[in-house]
């Protein structure tokens, strides 16, 4: 999975660089690509610190939240994690949850206070099992990696387009001066590359959500509990505060779903999460049960 993604993004970046080369010549292309790689490394090493700060999660102890804490412990045991992740709470009335941290050893699981009020024990177990499955699958690291790569592709193409506008079309040494068709293709490629990158990012995110649902159901041994929790999330109209695109893929329910209510044909392409209906349907199939409508 990670390998394929790296190859894909290498191709995308190579393509952007080739387009840049066609328009502007060798040295510029090399400079932009090197700059992009440096930026990727920089944001990769900085990324892990950002999440906790952005979401405003505070750690809780076992004494404060014995029930929640025990569920996290139990789900970690059932998933065979090397350690129980830290438990954190965000004070927010909207029910939601997410997992973060680079690997299974430094992970933390975070729920909103709204989730604790909304869910009963069984449903909470379902939600936590989904998050623990994310930790087990190392999704947080994967999605951070993908986000960084998307950023780099966007940066390179943005930079190249600016150079074309400011520097004039291919009138420098080494550039291809006489081929308008090639220039047009390069231009189009530079425009489309970031969109393709984001499309891939979101497709990966949606796929990982299905896998975390299936993994979670296996961990808790109770697909119906998770399905019930998803149904409750579906029916709850509240939306979490302090939300932005960069952390959206971490949550159990796409936190931006309700903001974009108008669902066009293409809107599904740009969701971080599959529709809750589909996720519930897959769990029903897996567990051989049917939730009442």
């Amino acid at each position: 999975m990670t390998g394929e993604l790296l190859v894909f993004f290498a191709l995308l970046m190579g393509g952007t660089a080739a387009a840049l080369y066609a328009v502007y010549g060798g040295p510029a292309a090399v400079a932009v690509v090197v700059g992009g790689i440096c930026w990727a490394l920089f944001s990769w090493f900085l990324s892990t610190r950002v999440v906790a700060a952005v979401t405003g999660a505070t750690p809780v102890t076992k004494e404060e939240q014995p029930d929640l804490y025990r569920i996290v412990e139990n789900m970690s045991i059932a998933a065979g994690l090397p350690a129980t992740p830290e438990v954190r709470i965000v004070d927010d009335p909207a029910p939601n949850a997410f997992a973060a941290g680079r690997g299974p050893k430094q992970a933390f699981v975070c729920v909103t206070s709204g989730l604790l009020q909304t869910m009963d024990h069984r449903e909470l177990e379902g939600v936590i099992s989904h998050e623990i499955a994310h930790v087990q699958h190392r999704d947080v690291r994967l999605m951070t990696l993908v986000a960084v790569l998307v950023g780099v592709v966007a940066m390179i193409s943005d930079f190249a387009l600016r150079m074309i506008f400011w520097g004039g079309m291919g009138n420098r040494r080494g550039g291809n001066q006489n081929n308008p068709i090639l220039l047009a293709i390069a231009f189009l490629g530079l425009l489309l590359a970031p969109i393709a990158a984001i499309g891939i990012q979101l497709a990966v995110s949606r796929r990982r959500e299905y896998q975390a649902d299936a993994g979670g159901a296996e961990i808790s041994g109770d697909p119906e509990g998770l399905a019930l929790a998803l149904r409750k999330l579906e029916q709850d109209p509240r939306e979490i505060r302090h939300m932005n695109r960069s952390t959206a893929h971490l949550y159990i329910e796409g936190p931006l779903r309700k903001a974009t209510d108008a669902r066009g044909l293409l809107s599904g392409l740009f969701d971080t999460h599959p529709p809750l209906e589909d996720r519930i349907a897959r769990l029903e199939q897996m567990g051989g049960f049917k939730l009442p409508q």
């Binding site: 025990r70 045991i77 065979g80 041994g221």
Partner: protein
Amino acid sequence: MLTVVIVVVVLLLLGLLFALFFNRLVRLRNETEAGWANIDVQLKRRNDLIPNLVEAVKGYAAHERTVFEEVTQARAAVAGAGGPAATAAASDALSGALGRLFAVAEAYPQLRASENFQELQSELTDTEDKIAAARRYYNSVVQTYNTAIQSFPAVLYAGLLGFRPRQFFSADEPEKAVPQVSVS
């Protein structure tokens, strides 16, 4: 000359492939052992809680001797059992005995109101849940491991290298539903 090179390259590739397969088996076997250790920790924890629980109940219901004996014997059976299947059977029997102990305790309101008893009860429920969780993990890694050593090509050499199939932590059939102790 060329033939020699080809033979060497093929042998190297085969060696590499074998190393990969071998390492996977080792990893899976280690996972089953870690899974078993998890179960063991929780079983010990439960066994450690039981004497206190029996004492607490005795304080209010000293004459319910049969159920105390049953719990004590089942506890000793869990500690003495060898192998996952036997341990699972003993563990299930202990869960059943504890369920009956709690059913007996229901009849004594003072006992139920005692803080010590409530705490022990919640600890024990938690441990039962953790045993169930550890059991799910162990059985799922054993399933993967057993499938791996019984599939081609591992089936040819797994036995020779000392990879034996492991027992499920289950009294009879694999993945039997975990008996739920109702303690509330």
